[in-house]
């Protein structure tokens, strides 16, 4: 009889009360046993006793510090008065050799870039005709502040100060880019290949995939920023796809950037950080964002449309029929801003991995003009 139960009816009529009831029934058997309660209370009792002991020790230590420091200082003054000149000369002689030996002991750890190129075989779990060219990633990095682009130029990604706003170099024109619906099958195949290569079981949700807009290819200097009428003037018309991959907790573990490209084009920049995935005769350049962990834990709203929408509403922002919302990369995939436009009003919400670098607060709504003023001041410093 239970088997004849119509699940379609249930799916169309799940109410809040039903969820409450299901949880109440389902969890009613979960109760702490007497043994668990007793052993917990015993451990707590021990902790309380220990805490009492520690308190006494702390009290003694506080007294010792309070009385000990003046006594020790007095003794030191007395000793210096007696041995003054002799003490200082011998101390300086002893210090010099120590300093030089310290300099000599600093090892120069070198970090070797391995640019090995390999192709992984197809497997049954992969999408049809999907394979991957892999630029082997270095095992460890001793300097997170720079990376090499395709031309071998070292580019600063996370700086202590910033002179221009720049986006990731991997980008394609927004106007010619296939829609998310058209590309999503390929993004799923990229996720499968990534999992296979990294021994992970991450998943990609369609709703969380973002088109990230990029800034002018030449970068946005303070002057360009100050002279821009609104944010459209600093955008390049290009962008890339960001694929936030979630673990089974639903937390973002890595954000991959993906761009379809023409494999025959010799001018396409490919760096050591990129992996090339070939999926059904389409090639994608895929790279993980450096700050994926931070983005996943602190800036996750950026990739959760519902959360972002809710957060912006909570700020008191009033959406209109003409509201435009764009996510832009302003620092080589390390820092982002959400750009909002309704009518003539232009706003910015920062999602930065380094707030102090730009002088603005994360997840706070700014007028475009206000944002430009603060950021250009920070850039000038």
């Amino acid at each position: 009889m239970a088997e004849s139960y119509d699940r379609n009816d249930l799916s169309s009529s799940i109410t809040d009360d039903m969820i409450k009831e299901a949880l109440k029934s389902g969890l009613s058997s979960i109760k702490a046993s007497d043994y668990l309660i007793e052993s917990t209370l015993e451990k707590c009792q021990e902790e309380i006793e220990e805490g009492k002991q520690k308190k006494k020790t702390r009290l003694f230590m506080t007294m010792a510090y309070k009385l000990g420091a003046p006594l020790a200082a007095g003794a030191l003054v007395l000793m210096l008065m007696i041995n003054g000149p002799k003490y200082f000369s011998s101390k300086m002689e002893m210090a010099a050799p120590k300093a030089s030996s310290l300099d000599g002991s600093v090892s120069n750890e070198e970090y070797k870039m391995d640019s090995g190129f390999s192709v992984s075989a197809d497997s049954e779990t992969q999408a049809p005709d999907a394979y991957m060219y892999e630029f082997t990633e270095p095992k460890e990095k001793n300097d997170d502040s720079s990376y090499e682009d395709s031309a071998g130029t070292t580019m600063m990604r996370i700086n202590e100060s910033i002179t221009a706003l720049n986006s990731s170099i991997n980008r394609t024109a927004n106007s010619t880019e296939p829609s998310l619906d058209e590309s999503f099958k390929s993004f799923n195949a990229i996720t499968d290949l990534y999992n296979e290569n990294n021994g992970t079981k991450l998943t990609l949700e369609r709703d969380n995939v973002r088109r990230i807009y990029t800034l002018l290819e030449t970068g946005v200097s303070t002057d360009t920023l100050l002279n821009a009428g609104d944010y459209h003037e600093v955008l390049s018309g290009d962008g890339y796809w960001a694929l936030p991959l979630e673990n089974n907790r639903g937390d973002i573990e890595v954000v991959l950037t993906a761009n379809m490209f023409d494999v025959k084009d010799p001018n396409i920049p490919v760096s050591n950080r990129d992996t090339i995935y070939s999926i059904e005769n389409k090639e994608f350049i895929v790279s993980p964002l450096d700050n994926s962990n931070y983005i996943g834990s602190e800036l996750q709203e950026l990739f959760e449309f519902d959360s972002l929408f809710g957060m912006i509403s909570e700020m008191g922002y009033e959406y209109g029929n003409d509201t435009e919302m764009i996510v832009a990369d302003i620092n080589y995939g390390a820092d982002f801003i959400v750009l909002l436009s309704t009518g003539n009003e232009k706003n910015v919400i920062p999602f930065l991995t380094n707030e102090t670098l730009f002088g603005v607060e994360n997840k706070k709504i700014y007028l475009w003009s206000e944002f430009v003023k603060i950021v250009s001041t920070s850039m000038g410093q």
Binding site: M1, A2, L10, S12, M18, S25, G26, N248, F309, I312
Partner: protein, 171 residues
């Protein structure tokens, strides 16, 4: 507070919130053993941080918050990854039930199974909202996420539940 007063206070908190802690830990970790570890560790942390509790949030929010953080630590730990978790701990007693009761129970069973299959972030929020009956503000404090995110996750969780139950019917 004297040690004996503290002992009394902890006994009260264990009695009042112990089962809530065990339930949220079981729902998040899907393991009775791990949930019991979290139960003990939660109250040890309550003892250690009791003097720092200023009553900015309710006792329940404070204690559940400690438990959720501990669950997250367990989820992250390498040890946890080796533990085989089960979601078969939710059992019902079946005596001389009527057809209607059996059907109702199947409904609940189906729904609770679907809840337990939700990704962690949706499962914990469904539990806090519907079972612990916590408000959006308190849940936001416990999970350290904005209120808007709580609302949107609740919304998404409900959609997922609908999809899962509909999906099972078609699958």
């Amino acid at each position: 507070m004297t040690p004996s007063e503290m002992t009394k206070e902890i006994s009260r908190l264990v009695e009042e919130y112990g089962n809530d802690v065990l339930k949220i830990a079981t729902v998040i970790l899907k393991s009775k053993e791990l949930a019991e570890d979290v139960y003990q560790e939660t109250f040890l942390r309550v003892v250690r941080s009791y003097s720092g509790y200023r009553g900015e949030s309710s006792e329940k929010t404070w204690i559940i918050s400690i438990a959720v953080n501990l669950c997250r630590d367990y989820m992250r730990s390498a040890w946890k990854r080796r533990v085989v978790v089960t979601d078969n701990f939710l059992t019902y007693t079946a005596d001389d039930d009527t057809e209607e009761i059996i059907e109702k129970r199947s409904e609940k069973q189906l729904l609770i199974n679907a809840i337990m299959k939700l990704p962690d972030k949706y499962r914990e929020i469904i539990h806090l909202f519907y079972y612990q009956e916590m408000g959006v503000k308190d849940i936001a404090k416990v999970l350290k996420i904005p209120g808007g995110t709580v609302k949107s996750r609740l919304f998404k969780a409900r959609i997922l539940l609908h999809d899962m139950i509909g999906g099972e019917a078609h699958g």
